[in-house]
Symmetry: C2
Subunit: 154 residues, 2 copies
Amino acid sequence: MEKHSNPINSTELGQVVSSCACFNLRKASRVVTQHFDEILKPSGLLITQFTILVAIARVKSGTINELAEVLVMDRTTLTRNLKPLEREKWLEIELGQDKRTRIIKLTSTGEIALTKAFPLWQQAQNGVVEFLGESRWSTLLLQLAEVTEIHHSR
Amino acid sequence: MEKHSNPINSTELGQVVSSCACFNLRKASRVVTQHFDEILKPSGLLITQFTILVAIARVKSGTINELAEVLVMDRTTLTRNLKPLEREKWLEIELGQDKRTRIIKLTSTGEIALTKAFPLWQQAQNGVVEFLGESRWSTLLLQLAEVTEIHHSR
DNA sequence: TCGAAACGAGTGCATATACACTTAATTCAT
DNA sequence: ATGAATTAAGTGTATATGCACTCGTTTCGA
């Protein structure tokens, strides 16, 4: 009765490649990340860094935990991702009232970098939307939001 | 006429977070990767490693370049990702006829690891499909395939 | 046939990602 | 008020990702 005491067959292997939710998401991420990084290059920002700066600008200032929550990113990942941004002086990290916390703030240099990068982001974003078409794009965005919710169901 | 000589406004910032193709893809990837890794844990394989082994099993044997093509992954990324798999003896890398190439082959140990991991992959995959529902899932898979095509249009 | 161009793969470097564990500060119950 | 439980954040370690550059091999044209 053990269905998989025998080696995986060719059909099953094909199934994984063609339909694995994780592989196909990661693959699309790789491709789209390269698309954005390519266009953002003149700004000196990677798309991942641009995103973090935007998140900081939105909340004005916040703790690591708060930012990680917004970005749906592991706290320790965020801590390390802040390092290059701090080095470039795009953000500042200061002690909070509660001395366990660190408050992240955008600097004026960071604000300028963000302002310069924004039109490039728009260009890259438009590239994707135009490539897919408005309708398919809005569907994709919706499904991405839904699949992301799977992490609350644990 | 310079639209963005002024700082980005709050509406624009919100736009990025809610609609950036790259951020939303990467966010979904992070969440779904954790979902798969969690369920695959007993197999000792990460989902990224499982995917690579499947790709190798499918083509029986192939060069780094061929595999990277299939996986839509940078060649140098693949080279490094093979390292832990080689260390665990799940695959072998031998010299090709053309001595510039390396031929990647699954070992019998790798075959066994794959066979054990497959039901877990199915479980994780079914989790996603059931969470979204068949219809939304198939739509998502389709749109992911389409957006991935953006890398040919360069 | 020989030298240049093309090609396959590896390495240096930088960044992204997250789990397990640790440390320091705060909160809260007794 | 004090000690235990909780909380915020950093660090060790491992993997993932890709660009720029290098090195060795093959191919191909003069």
